[in-house]
Symmetry: D2
Subunit: 343 residues, 4 copies
């Protein structure tokens, strides 16, 4: 298959290049960049030494699938011609994630480019929408934070174990902010530092709510607070939910039920592991894996669920390729069967 990547020079883009260039079904790769057009990819990224690909201004006509690593708005604009020609696309930006155009408008201050496409787009949390992704032409790859948060809480919410009143305290590595320059990724500012951000409302919040709604008895109340921590990759979502009034009173028995429920959801998943102790982002580094750990706080009658992912893999490029595999009917782990790099 000939695969196109729009904006290979961002972190999601270069991660797509790393993974796609070793994907057994990818015969050819064509990449564009917003900067660096005309250079070889490995001139810009020495980690890709040997990958002799020119950075093009636009994709050739004959690409058979397109990934977009562009920012929102620019992404939809660049993808529309391919969508119109029937080329399957996987958008790593936010343009097709929210089904309600008004909601998109509210959070992104951008008019949705083609609202009728929103109904067709499939939210690409593979574990949740695998069946619809299989036949999709337009996949909206989830945000990194929603991937972690949803994998953490969906079983509990869907299983009725908790009230849909969710606090997500998320910790992210700095690469989540992209390759563009800002004080928020200046080494000396963020090293040896932890701070929350996005307190007025982060744009990943409506995604989380949208995907929980079908599983919740009432509209979910969600407080989502991201924090920057001094590491390059990784997200840990620490989720706090009140236990439903109807659940088992004994914490130990409840813990056992919860663990069983999570195993029932995830044991057949190739990339999601229910752990036996607190998960660490390091145990996902460089891989498409998610580690999920639910635990009952008997004192406070809360369920705590922790999920760890690599924000650039399961949180971006890896899940996008996982979706490609599903769309093409290939084994879901094709090209993604990498173990995390530890330590």
């Amino acid at each position: 298959m000939k695969v196109g990547v729009l904006n290979v020079t961002g972190y999601a883009g270069v991660e797509l290049a790393r993974l796609l260039s070793r994907h057994p079904e990818v015969r050819a790769l064509a990449v564009t960049g917003r900067s660096e057009v005309g250079k070889r990819l490995d001139e810009v990224f020495p980690s890709l030494s040997g990958l002799d690909l020119p950075i093009l201004p636009t994709l050739p006509e004959d690409v058979e699938v397109v990934f977009s690593g562009l920012p929102h708005k620019a992404s939809a604009e660049a993808l529309l011609p391919f969508i119109d020609r029937g080329v399957p696309v996987i958008d790593l930006a936010a343009d097709f994630r929210l089904r309600d155009p008004a909601e998109y408008q509210r959070w992104y201050q951008v008019t949705p480019p083609r609202p009728e496409l929103l109904a067709e787009a499939v939210y690409g949390l593979t574990e949740l929408h695998r069946n619809r992704i299989a036949g999709a032409r337009l996949v909206a790859n989830p945000g990194c934070y929603p991937t972690a948060a949803l994998l953490a809480v969906l079983p509990a919410v869907a299983g009725g174990l908790v009230k849909p009143d969710l606090i997500v305290d998320a910790k992210s590595g700095i690469s989540g902010g992209g390759r563009s320059l800002s004080l928020a990724n200046h080494y000396s500012e963020v090293n040896e530092n932890v701070a929350p951000y996005g307190l007025a409302g982060h744009r990943h919040l409506p995604e989380i709510i949208q995907e929980l709604v079908p599983f919740a008895e009432a509209t979910p109340t969600v407080t989502f607070i991201p924090h920057l921590v001094p590491m390059t990759r990784g997200i840990l979502a620490s989720c706090y939910l009140p236990l439903a009034d109807t659940v088992e009173a004994d914490p130990l028995r409840l813990q056992s039920q919860v663990t069983d429920l999570y195993h029932a959801w995830y044991d057949k998943e190739p990339f999601v592991f229910v752990t036996t102790g607190p998960p660490a982002t390091k145990a996902t580094f460089g891989s498409n894996r998610a580690l999920v750990y639910p635990t009952v706080d008997g004192r406070a009658r809360r369920l705590l669920v922790f999920a760890a992912i690599d924000n650039l893999v399961k949180g971006a490029a890896g899940q996008a390729i996982q979706n490609l595999n599903v769309m093409c009917g290939w084994p879901e782990t094709l090209g993604l069967d990498l173990l995390p790099v530890y330590p």
Copy 2:
């Protein structure tokens, strides 16, 4: 004044040495170590080059105040002789923090050495118990996490703005785990990694509850989850509390009330600053400062409060010296008037 420090070779101890050796009222310093006895302090810690102090096996008789940087149990045992002789002591360990001996026994699996002292000991959160510290002989310096969490939530709880149902998601630098060796402070294990720990119940939890009780209408429900983040110093406590039913409904007006309340609590405090945006641990590095930022989540009807401190200064050695200053009637900032090291 001649000051003694028990166990100068732990991180709290060496931080006491750094600060006390420049304290204008400290005429002489005597230090002990559990290891390294007989060496000069600056042989063990080259950062203290020039500080020509021997590490003693025991403190001399004529010390006029004693700080203990020993672990719990060992700390009380070493301090009792001084307490009995009427020498004022400041214990940085947990032995005298909990007023209920049964609670201490439950969390530490140690029989309290002299339960009658628990009633006399003052919990050394200076901002809360300044008056009692002024006349105290035995100060139990707070844990690092409770210092951050209590400074964050006390005004809101005492002001009745929130229900006493608290989630504290805390992020700590690695130095909080001390200088002893373990996989939890092995560089390659914790670098580029974030993970929660202490999920079954961290020993700092009962301190937080104990100090909130007098201010809460009902027994507080507290979920406290610490996380290790890859930095040396710093704690950020992210606190989530449900708004009381009676508070102002309009989020903007409520935010204004909350801000006013926090300023009323803290504007006269020399070390606590109410910030105008999300606080960063880096802005406290090396200093005795606490930064506190309360913000209303109008969507979820919650109050969020973030507090940042340096765990080894305001969270340990600095607050201990702040308490010494109060005990001695000196200006509270004496020897502590250092600005944070940034960047």
Copy 3:
């Protein structure tokens, strides 16, 4: 092939497990540990979740090749029975690296276990000894520092461009010190810190000299100073050599000759890349690649050569597998065709 790994619980061992478990020719893997015997490998290392391997006390009889991640002395002792039975072995420790038993004795204070084996052992710098490795039964995998230093300077020394008077200023990530606990890998001690070590003579020095001797006109004089830098993985060897008196006087023409020479040495190598600018360790992270950059200092009439590798891959486990591939006549990149993880 059924492969055995001795001491999988050190960093070289767990890296062997990561790579061998995805190696197309490795049918079965058996692993031992000095600690953690009886546990599943992924209980100890959650990054290997899904790798359902017991940690054995000893390797089964039917392993067809053995890697040892044991420390020196213990490594030779454990390998001897396999060597005696004719099972090919690859030793990641130092026991068979030095051909002169007296030299080994001097640097390691250990009597070589079976000196006659030293003549048979092949020093496993694949690029240098590929032909002899192809038929070897006993490969002594090089130290991480010598791998970087030798790849950097061999072409220049062998090409007579420089005098054999070498300064190697090496910078290593902390994982090079292993998984055992020490102050030298305590996070708070090594984070935000750079320091040299091994000033009295590091054990990797004689390896460097031994491998240079055949290429140098005179016995090489080598100053080798390693430094610890606050990162987990990576070695950068910065090498400084005086230009030979006979070389081209014009720096630009000389630079061109040097670049050509290095390309001639390395362009057919699958893992060594001659870069066009200063190499960064990050561009090798998690991969078996080496980046080499020679540059002429015309002012001081010196050749500077910089080499970057991942100390746990090309500096240990990866090169060991590269040697396995050569020993077995497989494509040299089998199981090692991973791109570096960037950023």
Copy 4:
């Protein structure tokens, strides 16, 4: 004294503010910024909370001394009016460091603004030029790298122990590159990474040579290669020099002579410590201290000298204040008597 700081919003500037605001002889502080004019200093830098200083467009007329944290060229331009009015100035940029205008032109591609001032300017390595600084009106504060390198090698060069053929392999934290944004300080690019830079010739090289010339028998040959390491603060200069032919042949006796020589140079210095083992940058963090460690490599007949400083303190703002103290006849440690922050 009323002190002015030009460009407080760079890292050298904000470090000047941190230190000067606690300096006992500084009665008032006025600061300018290239950005952020009109804001309070502590709005921009929360680490300075409580420092209620406006960021001015220009300094008031009545400042009695001026520090400049501006970049070169802009610095000289802004300082000239003060110099012409006879106000003493301390320039942290490079404009007055090189006495030879042609050399300045060559390295900085800028015409020196007022060449006659170069003869008057004193190179502000306090330990070297203390007497001339005492009466100076114009002090050119040294670069961070030259400070470390010169403190390391001056005693050996001046003492004739070595040939003036110097290799300086320097490792710097990222803050040395300033607060302006670039890929070279983007967290994800420089974290978990080590790389050399400035291979074609770093601008600090001519400073090093200039200051060595008076002490060397011949024109010094210097190879100076800086490296970026993933930490915020700190410089380690690793210096390699050939022993002079005339020195003592026995390494142990020579080591003793070298150590004595360094102690003779530095024992009366308040900020320079000759250490007994390899120095670590961490042991200088946040302080004006320099640690120097000379050691003989008997095998290779070289002298190795390592020097560690905090690049923003002894390498910039701290040394500038040390020079102010000397200029004013105050105790040299005034306002600088801070111990390093460890760990």
